[in-house]
């Protein structure tokens, strides 16, 4: 029996601080529904975040929660997982937090295959600081620091995490909220590092600068410009230009770090006893 989302909110701090129409609430709802379906006890879940709009999420959640420094959510989460391998450690992070300032932590958490679920809220902008472009801002898009259009190529974080060694990689948008929730559920069930990129709308900074209309228009844009992974495999790079590929991209079975480390602890204890 699934647990209602209300059970996981700190109601006294609601309504949350996100702008009207911000997709972060939709992504957070998808995460909470996944936790509810898995019926995880609150005390066995630890939510860790960095800095940014998305990283404000744990403040509203009734689990063990840690709001850490910019980009360092995964570093803190790694420590928590090592100290308490029995916990479900879930990192909620933004695109700037995960791909820019915390990019190195992300690569190494994936390489080590730490048993952490990471949900990256990708709104393609630094919303909290008035809309600077991030490494996830698509080429040609406008931002307060790219008034003539962004010339940089954006990361494909799913490819990056897969290459770095993560065990589960998926992407969905706020237009695919049910699918997104399924992916988060699969990610939590994954042994090892699991990464879900949630493409979400920032109507205030990204939407306004790029003349994308209302939050509803932005969700419809996601729906129209998304391509399923199976369909995308048959398309060329030109046809996929500007599209968002959604789906589950990779499932691996590499050993999870804390399980491997358990063996190290055992060997050390045996050596000490001799």
């Amino acid at each position: 029996m699934a647990v209602p989302v209300d059970n996981y909110l700190r109601n006294q701090f609601m309504p949350h601080m996100w702008c009207p129409g911000c997709g972060h609430g939709i992504v957070l709802g998808a995460v909470l529904r996944a936790i509810g379906r898995l019926d995880l006890p609150k005390d066995e879940v630890c939510i860790v975040s960095g800095i940014g709009c998305a990283s404000r999420a744990p403040g509203y959640l009734d689990f063990n929660t840690v709001h850490t420094t910019h980009g360092r959510a995964l570093a803190f989460a790694t420590g928590i997982k090592l100290a308490r391998p029995d916990l479900h450690v879930i990192v909620l992070t933004g695109d700037g937090d995960a791909s820019a300032i915390g990019g190195n932590h992300l690569i190494h958490a994936a390489r080590r295959n730490m048993g952490i679920t990471t949900v990256m809220f990708n709104n393609s902008i630094y919303g909290m600081t008035n809309g600077q472009y991030s490494p996830m801002t698509p080429k040609g898009r406008y931002a307060s620091t790219a008034p003539y259009g962004n010339v940089e190529r954006n990361f494909d974080m799913c490819e990056l995490v897969k290459a770095a060694g993560g065990n589960y990689v998926a992407r969905a948008t706020t237009a695919h909220a049910r699918q997104l929730s399924n992916y988060v559920e699969h990610a939590i069930q994954t042994q090892g590092f699991a990464f879900v990129e949630a493409v979400t709308q920032c109507p205030t900074y990204f939407g306004r600068r790029n003349k994308m209309g209302t939050p509803v228009d932005m969700i419809e844009w996601f729906r129209k410009n998304s391509v399923n992974a199976a369909a995308a495999a048959k398309l060329g790079p030109e046809e996929l230009d500007g599209k968002i590929v959604v789906g589950e991209f990779y499932r691996g079975d590499a050993p999870e770090y804390t399980q491997v480390y358990e063996e190290v602890i055992k060997r050390a204890k045996e050596a000490a006893a001799r």
Partner: protein, 86 residues
């Protein structure tokens, strides 16, 4: 204030959490919801509700609840992900 729960009103809107973004109004397949004069969502045609729970899932402010959702599978995210695995 939350709208009163009754079998005739299957959708509850928590007005103090609603920010009037209009996502629920646009996403509802049966046009059950409308904007009140203050821009916030209000249940205009409760009899048309098919309890698909799209409004609840798409509300970014956790302001909507569908009472006794018809299809638990869909509400719980068991929707179509066919062909998504590459």
């Amino acid at each position: 204030m939350t709208s009163a729960a009754s079998p005739e009103v299957p959708v509850l809107v928590r007005h103090e959490w609603c920010k009037g973004c209009g996502i629920c109004i646009a996403m509802c397949p049966k046009k059950v919801l409308e904007a009140a004069p203050d821009g916030k969502a209000t249940v205009a045609r409760p009899e048309d509700c098919i309890k698909c729970e799209t409004c609840e899932i798409m509300c970014p402010d956790f302001a909507i609840r569908v009472v006794g959702g018809r299809s638990k599978g869909v509400a719980e995210g068991k929707g179509d992900v066919a062909g998504a695995r590459a």
